[in-house]
Every structure is written in structure tokens, then in C-alpha cells.
């Protein structure tokens, strides 16, 4: 039996008066693409930030390949790669320099140059990698960041809204890259998204989440059939209506 890549159990996170997560529990199997789907403020980003070791849970636990995200955070950071929503890159560095800077942190894995070459191929930015990041469009920056997140072949890639704000051309490129890379290298992906089309195209399993709780979990087909919906948007509306 394969080990679970992520195990989240009864996760609660409180910010002042706001309960962002209210007993969230789910598992992500190794090698699958798992999507957290929900409206703004549902708690998707908070859950991803806890798993990425950025913030600590108020209660409950999260484990990545058996490592506790609070207790073993330095070890977790070695095997994950996190792409925040609306993340930026260092504007005064060139694309090459940015990738090299990031790859250097994983030099113990060896082959910094190989990682950068891999990222160059994933990004598809070609000669533009020689230009400074400040000259890039939003789509180009996102492609650079996706390439950065995947080039280290992490055991778990955590992608928060990977195609948020991108036009159709860039969004399709990013989705294709994620799907192909995961199949090729067996990377596990945990992502969040608003885009139901994207979720259906990418994810093996999804969890619909609202007000910090999971409403329903399963493959996109299972979720649709549970609510007798034609698409995930209808299923989501039905799930939130029923609570």
C-alpha cells in the first residue's frame, strides 16, 4: 500500500475572531493531483499555508509524507515546493538568475544547472529568460514561477490558484505543464482553484470546501454524480446549498 502524501486531521485555524478552518480533514495519495475547491474565504489558502509550514494550526495536525508540518518543518521544506497565489519574482534579477538563486537552495540534490535547464524547458520562455523579471508580463512571471516550483522535482507541490489571473494561452500552457510533469516524475500535487474547468482537467480527486470544512470529496465524476449535476459548478452550488 502506498503512503499518503498528505494527511490532514481536524485542522482548526483561528485568526482573532475568525475561524478560517473548522476541523478540516483529508488525505492526498502519493502521485495524485488533489484539488481544494471553494469560494473566497473558504479556507483553501490557510490550509495550503499550514501544509507549506508558513503558519501553524490552532489545533489538529497535518503531515507530509509522515512528517509533522510543525515539529518537522525544516524536513518538510526539503521535500515540498510551494507556489503562493499572486506570488512574484525578484524584479531586478533575470529569469535565469532567479531560477539559479532558487535552485541553489537545493544544491544538496546536485545538478543546479540541470534544474535550471529543466525549468527553462518547463517555462517555455526561451531567450526571454535572459531579460530582467520586471520586463515580464503576468503570464510570463507565472510560467517562471511554475517552472521554479517544479524544477526541483519535489515530492509534494503545493500550488495555490496556479492559473489565477492568466489569459487562456498562458493558463492552458500552465495546466499542460503541471499534468505532464506530474505524470512524468510522479510528483504529488495539492492545488486550490476557483476554475472548475481547470479542476476537472487536472485533478484526480477534489474536495469542495466551505467555511473551513469539507462538504464533499471524491473524483470530479463522483462529485458530479452525487449531486446529479452536469458540471462541477452545479455540484458546488448544490453542495453549498445543502451545507
Amino acid at each position: 500500500m502506498r503512503e499518503n502524501a498528505v494527511e490532514v486531521k481536524d485542522l482548526v485555524k483561528v485568526f482573532g475572531d475568525i475561524k478560517a478552518l473548522d476541523g478540516l480533514s483529508f488525505q492526498v495519495r502519493e502521485g495524485e493531483i488533489y484539488g481544494l475547491i471553494g469560494p473566497n474565504g473558504a479556507g483553501k489558502t490557510t490550509a495550503l499555508r499550514i501544509i507549506a509550514t508558513l503558519i501553524k494550526p490552532t489545533s489538529g495536525s497535518a503531515r507530509v509524507f509522515g512528517l509533522d508540518v510543525v515539529r518537522d518543518s525544516p524536513k518538510v521544506r526539503r521535500i515540498i515546493s510551494y507556489l503562493p497565489e499572486e506570488a512574484g519574482a525578484y524584479k531586478n534579477l533575470s529569469g535565469w538568475e532567479y531560477l539559479k538563486f532558487m535552485a541553489n537552495f537545493y544544491s544538496e540534490k546536485g545538478g543546479v544547472e540541470a534544474m535550471v535547464e529543466e525549468a527553462a524547458e518547463i517555462s517555455g520562455l526561451g531567450e526571454r529568460l535572459r531579460d530582467k523579471v520586471k520586463t515580464y508580463s503576468k503570464g510570463m512571471t507565472r510560467r517562471l514561477l511554475i517552472a521554479r516550483a517544479l524544477m526541483t522535482k519535489p515530492k509534494l507541490a503545493i500550488l495555490d490558484e496556479p492559473t489565477s489571473g492568466l489569459d487562456v494561452v498562458h493558463a492552458i500552457h500552465v495546466r499542460k505543464v503541471i499534468k505532464e510533469y506530474v505524470r512524468k516524475h510522479g510528483v504529488t500535487v495539492l492545488l486550490s482553484s476557483h476554475n472548475m474547468l481547470e479542476v476537472e482537467f487536472l485533478c484526480d480527486r477534489i474536495a469542495l470546501i466551505n467555511k473551513g470544512k469539507i462538504l464533499v470529496e471524491g473524483s470530479p465524476g463522483e462529485v458530479k454524480s452525487r449531486y446529479g449535476a452536469d458540471n462541477l459548478e452545479e455540484a458546488f452550488m448544490e453542495a453549498t446549498r445543502l451545507g
Binding site: 509550514t53 508558513l54 515540498i80 510551494y82 503562493p84 512574484g88 525578484y90 534579477l93 532558487m102
Partner: protein
């Protein structure tokens, strides 16, 4: 971890030196602004001197006597351009000068020659036509004074030669010769006390000014280095990389220190150029500083360097600590700005006084501020007081260690992501009033 730290330091330096605001504002600007200021001052000073040379002097001779004639001849011999006005009275002469480039009128009243030859004071009238309030206008007003003074000295000398033919006029005029000897910490050097005061002034004003200038801009750089990570949304990624948060903090600090040191060096070069171009023409009275023990010894130089380095590190650590609570560059700069008080207050107070003469509660406050120790140590370096220097370095080091510890704590918690300084209560208060 070391490779992570080195990686961050290299990236910080690369990024900062490529940022036009930092490169131009902190590193290159002192090399441009100070020489330009010096050149501007020189140009205006030269222009005033040149304009004074060319300013003609109008002269109305109502005396027509031999001494008046003698005065006119002397002024011509002194290369003064004279415009002699023939006939009329003072009002008519001034009227004639209206609209011309002659702005000074010297009037020799009737009886000038008779008074001088009969042992009574002669009287001259100088009318200055002022059209503006600039320095050059003020200088024009005094254009007649120098040649008239010169003429007066010639008259005195002549009178003394006639009265005391066997003595040099200088001995009659200035019979006592004064030798001024400075005794400083038991060492004697022949020089006027004013010369030593000049050295003390440069220490009292120069070092506080330098430290103030250096820290204020360096703190903004350090605050920007952390807040820009938040503004550009790169910090979250950085914090999930396999690198210790203390390495991130130290890397940022080291990058800022390199920029601050580069900025200080260019500021020193710029200030040096500025001061030499301004005061270069002014003769400095010779003072053997070495004989007075006022030249920095090698240990003092080293300790001064250590102290300056610790001052920079502590200020930058403080700026990074405070900027960790900001949301973006602008809010970071607003948060760091009040810290300037910690630098400005001791700098200004210590320009005019030593800590020991202040009231006790003020002394306590002053000693708590780390930058007081920077200035005290800089002054102590010249006096060769190594104990005070070491004490200052120890305090600055302890302060820096404390700030680094607090900042590292912030970096290791989620406060670095979630911490925000809220001004909402202030807005609410304003809204109510």
C-alpha cells in the same frame, strides 16, 4: 545552511545594486550632489569676487584740497575704477547714478584736507545704492571700505614715520608680540587656541553628522529589503525554502550592510570633496595635531572601524525588525522614520554638550540610546580613550544581539506573514473628533 546564507547575501547585493533608487539615491548621489554643491558655492563666490573687482566707484570731490587729490591718486594706484562726478551736490550726483552700474558714491566733503592737515579727523561719506538682498549686493555695499582703509593705513604709516623717524612704524603700532601656546593633556604646541577649537568643532559636529547621515539612509535600505519581499509577494516562497529563517535574516542584514558601507564611502568621498572645494582657498593655521596626541593611533582606528560597523549592523537590524511588521515598502518607511529620533536626538545634543553635564534623568535616557555610544566612542577615539570605545562597542553589540534575537523570533513565527501594524484605531479616533 552556509550555502543558503551565501546565496541570499549574493542575491541581496545583486538586487540592491541593480535597484536604480538605491544605486542612485544611496551610492551614487553623494558622489554627484556634494561636488555639485561645492562647485556651485565656488562659482557663486568667484562670481561675487569678480563682480567686486569690476564694480566702479563714483567720487564727488567737494573739498578740492591737496589731501582729497592725494586720496584720489591713491585709489587709482590701488586699481579702483573711479568715476569722478564734476560739480553739483550729493542729491544731483545720486540722481545721475540712478540706472547706471555704479552703486557706490564716495563724497569728500569740504574741509577734508584742512582737517587732516590740522590734526583733526577727516570725514568721508559713502553712499551705497542697494537694489536687492543677495550676498553680492551686500558685498557691493562694502566695495569702498577696503581701498579707503588702505589709504588710511598709508596716512598712519606716514605720520608715524614723521613723528618717530628712528623706529619702524610696526613697532609703534604693535609694540607687544604675543606667542600663543596650547597646552593639551600636558603636551605643548605653539598655535592660537582657535586652531584647536576648529579641530574640536570638526569632531563635535562632523562625527554626529556623519553617523546621522549614514544611518538614516541605511535604515531605509534595510527596511525596504524586507518590505519589498512582502510587497512583491516573494517572502512566502522564501520562507518555504530549505533555508533557516535566521539565514534569511542574516543574509538580508549582510546585503544591507554592504550597501550602507558603499553609501558611507561615497558620502565620505563626496563630503571630503565638498569641504576641500569650499575651504580649500582659506588658509588653515598650522597646528601640529600629532604633537598634541590628537592623531588617531592604530588601535583607535581599528576600534573606530569596529564601532562604525556595529553601529551600522545594529541600526539595520532594528530597521529590519520594525519593517517586519509592515505590509509594503511605503508602510515600512513610515514605521522606520520615527526611529530616526533615536539617531537625531543624541547627534544634536552631543554636538553642543557632553553627556556628563546633562541632568541625570537625561543622562540615563541618552545612555540607553545605542547611537549615543557611537558618537561618544568617535570622540573618545581622538582622545585615545580605549576604555570608553570598548564600552561603547560592548553596549552596541549587546543591543544588536538583543535586536537580532527578537527579529529572529519574529522570523521563526508566523508573525512575519501575519504581523501588521494597524492604524485603524487612529483613523477611528480622527473620525470621532
Amino acid at each position: 545552511m552556509a550555502s543558503g546564507l551565501g546565496n541570499i547575501v549574493a542575491k541581496e547585493i545583486k538586487e540592491m545594486f541593480r535597484d536604480p533608487k538605491i544605486l542612485l539615491g544611496i551610492v551614487l548621489m553623494p558622489l554627484i550632489i556634494f561636488p555639485v554643491m561645492g562647485a556651485a558655492m565656488n562659482v557663486s563666490q568667484t562670481a561675487v569676487e569678480e563682480s567686486m573687482k569690476k564694480v566702479p566707484l563714483a567720487l564727488l570731490d567737494l573739498d578740492r584740497g591737496p589731501m582729497a587729490e592725494n586720496l584720489i591718486l591713491t585709489l587709482r594706484a590701488l586699481n579702483v575704477t573711479l568715476v569722478e562726478i564734476e560739480g553739483g551736490n550729493v542729491s544731483e550726483a545720486l540722481e545721475r547714478l540712478q540706472g547706471s552700474n555704479v552703486t557706490t558714491l564716495v563724497v569728500i566733503p569740504p574741509g577734508f584736507s584742512r582737517n587732516l592737515t590740522s590734526g583733526v579727523r577727516g570725514e568721508l561719506e559713502v553712499y551705497s545704492i542697494i537694489e536687492g538682498l543677495s550676498f553680492s549686493e551686500g558685498a557691493k555695499a562694502s566695495v569702498a571700505t577696503a581701498p579707503i582703509d588702505a589709504y588710511e593705513r598709508i596716512l598712519v604709516r606716514r605720520t608715524l614715520e614723521e613723528a618717530f623717524p628712528d623706529r619702524p612704524p610696526e613697532v609703534v603700532l604693535d609694540p607687544i608680540s604675543l606667542r600663543s601656546i596650547i597646552v593639551f593633556k600636558g603636551k605643548r604646541v605653539e598655535a592660537p587656541p582657535g586652531a584647536l577649537m576648529g579641530v574640536f568643532m570638526s569632531q563635535s559636529f562632523g562625527f554626529p553628522m556623519l553617523i546621522m547621515l549614514m544611518l538614516i539612509s541605511a535604515m531605509q535600505v534595510a527596511a525596504t529589503s524586507i518590505s519589498i519581499e512582502k510587497e512583491e509577494k516573494t517572502l512566502e516562497t522564501l520562507l518555504t525554502l530549505p533555508v533557516g529563517r535566521l539565514s534569511i535574516l542574516t543574509g538580508k542584514l549582510a546585503g544591507s550592510v554592504v550597501v550602507a558601507v558603499a553609501g558611507t564611502l561615497t558620502a565620505l568621498i563626496g563630503i571630503n570633496y565638498y569641504t576641500t572645494s569650499i575651504f580649500g582657498s582659506v588658509p588653515v593655521e598650522g597646528l601640529d595635531l600629532e604633537a598634541l596626541g590628537l592623531v588617531l593611533s592604530s588601535p583607535a582606528y581599528i576600534l573606530l572601524g569596529v564601532m562604525m560597523f556595529m553601529t551600522i549592523v545594529s541600526a539595520l537590524a532594528l530597521a529590519i525588525c520594525v519593517a517586519a511588521f509592515s505590509e509594503n515598502v511605503r508602510s515600512a518607511q513610515s514605521l522606520v522614520a520615527p526611529l530616526n529620533i533615536l539617531i537625531v536626538i543624541p547627534s544634536i545634543i552631543l554636538m553642543f554638550a557632553d553627556v556628563e553635564i546633562l541632568p541625570f534623568p537625561v543622562q540615563v535616557v541618552m545612555y540607553l540610546i545605542p547611537y549615543t555610544h557611537s558618537i561618544i566612542a568617535a570622540k573618545a577615539a581622538f582622545a585615545g580613550d580605549y576604555f570608553i570605545m570598548l564600552r561603547s562597542i560592548a553596549y552596541l553589540s549587546a543591543f544588536t544581539a538583543f535586536i537580532l534575537y527578537v527579529t529572529a523570533k519574529i522570523f521563526t513565527t508566523e508573525r512575519i506573514i501575519a504581523a501588521r501594524v494597524s492604524f485603524r484605531w487612529l483613523k477611528r479616533k480622527r473620525g470621532r473628533s
